[in-house]
Chain length 392, copies 2
Amino acid sequence: MSYQFSELSALYKSTLLENVIPFWETNSLDWSHGGYFTCLDREGKVYDTDKFIWLQNRQLWTFSMLYNRLDKKESWLKIAHHGAKFLAEKGRDSEGNWYFSLNQAGEPLVQPYNIFSDCFAAMAFSQYALASGETSAQEIALQAYKNVLRRQKNPKGKYNKTFPGTRNLKSLAVPMILANLSLEMDWLLHSEQLEEILDNTVQEIMTDFIDPELGLMYENVTPDGSFMDCFEGRLINPGHGIEAMWFVMDIARRRQDTKLINQAVDIMLNILNFGWDTKYGGIYYFLDLKGHPPQQLEWDQKLWWVHLESLVALAMGYGLTQRAECWQWYQKVHDYTWQHFPDSDNGEWFGYLNRRGEVLLNLKGGKWKGCFHVPRGLYLCWQQFSDSATNK
Amino acid sequence: MSYQFSELSALYKSTLLENVIPFWETNSLDWSHGGYFTCLDREGKVYDTDKFIWLQNRQLWTFSMLYNRLDKKESWLKIAHHGAKFLAEKGRDSEGNWYFSLNQAGEPLVQPYNIFSDCFAAMAFSQYALASGETSAQEIALQAYKNVLRRQKNPKGKYNKTFPGTRNLKSLAVPMILANLSLEMDWLLHSEQLEEILDNTVQEIMTDFIDPELGLMYENVTPDGSFMDCFEGRLINPGHGIEAMWFVMDIARRRQDTKLINQAVDIMLNILNFGWDTKYGGIYYFLDLKGHPPQQLEWDQKLWWVHLESLVALAMGYGLTQRAECWQWYQKVHDYTWQHFPDSDNGEWFGYLNRRGEVLLNLKGGKWKGCFHVPRGLYLCWQQFSDSATNK
């Protein structure tokens, strides 16, 4: 199937504004206790009321971002405010670290055991501060950002179960999130600080985490960027690597660094070639570099975010380079994604499919899926194709 | 298909002695560094050399148990000694807590972050002490047992991520393992202490963890044994509940408590009715009590240990009660299990199948599957059917 940019732009726009955002506007607001419900079944009914901080902050980010970048709709700002108020009051411990989860009333359930809650809080409150103009939101964003910087070398703190010294590994997630987060917060950071962080993270991602032979992204490497032949070292997470590549393209575009853009595109294409399921279609969730059985029992499943991040990366990569491989891959991933994930009956997208592409969990949201990857991916693809249609 | 006890007895015996045990004897011994390899691919080749303490201890248990109960084969004692030596030297921290994993050389990788490493160490060294007569093995077993008792109220210690007070839950795994472990160690414990622990654990399992309406086993309940409507509270782990029921039958048989035996059989049958996949056959890995989407992405997979524990529970339940439902269910689970798990080409059993019963991971062992559930299940079913054939 071949696509017109203008048709694609219209498809992404209408799905975002007429299908996905209304699903969350209608179903996710907890009017009694504040914050958002994310455990929504296929029809949007709440099946669990726990509040996971990643997803609370991500929904706050989404509505703030739409307000800032798309349309100053009062209803979007109100939804953002609804989450920001709950999170500012309930989301942090006495030292300002962000919990992992709360119950419906906002009482803490799971301790701040890693830095990703803080990452998403910084992203969310930075967007919300822009939207609302609230100084307190800026302060919350900067506090969370400082937590991330302070804890980046030991993200799990006292909850780290690794015995020190035997096998030190560092994780792609840390520089990757730092790159994206710092770009998000550019308006709040000193430009020198920002450029230094971007330099370091891009350097780390594009040297330490790349397999020199296959050109794939590792998830975990030794501190000096070497491969370690163990389960964690052999792990390939295609969606994560591809997402990292569009973060890098985003930074490279800002710097007009064509070489870096092409390098990121090369790696993205390598990952797609490696991670594509040639039998049933779709991108695997996890693979072992050497083809051994991975530890993750869900390795062969097809996840919504993996496919959305790939569409973003491919649309961006094509927009920036016009390389034919990007367009061929875009169409292949587009066909699979749009055929399998959207729920034509009830709106929004399924999150988890089995290897064959059949619905594995009959939900629209849960502990890890909320109002984030679908709307962000749709927004970014829409903008990309809208630009491409204009520049054609 | 209908079965003769004598045929079943012969099937379990020959599979254990001619197929499964030789697979581990041939492939799992690390002659250079000591201990066992458990990451074995379909053919038995080592694909990873890390040593997971649960599995190291479980293999030590298996070979010691076979030596103690079946046949005083010097080669089995030698294999047990090979693991015991490695574990005694490398398995514990300076306070005597058992690590979770080591690298090939035996250097610690993952800290002692819960009590299950200690549980399996106590089981293993108790059997090995019986087999070898080594006093030091007895001491190791008793030290590990004391660790379990000391840490049972807070099994994860400082690694516990739960915020205290908001939602306290206790886990079925703790009383369940304590019941089985204490029976295993009866020869090392004072009989009063043993009987008190058995009383308490059986009481706790059979009252606190049972759903009063559906007669199913919960995995997690409040400290006073109430249901909690959250992901952890709604979780049903059929294999775990069924395994707990044969532990209870084992204790009840010892006490000639017919009422308790029948109660355990009732619950086992309820779990099987709830947990059986009526479309593709086999027993699900995880379910939500209310039918909501579970958190576990692997929920619909068919795991070897779930099916082996069910065969043990059904054979035992039928042997003890002669109830027709036990026999009907035994045959149903037998057919599924023997058709799907054994690898006729290379010996031993696959561990992980997808919902359709297709092989999901092309392995015989890994981080969680070692030389334990298959040989233990085969041994117990063999003994049960051998008894039944004799008593017929």
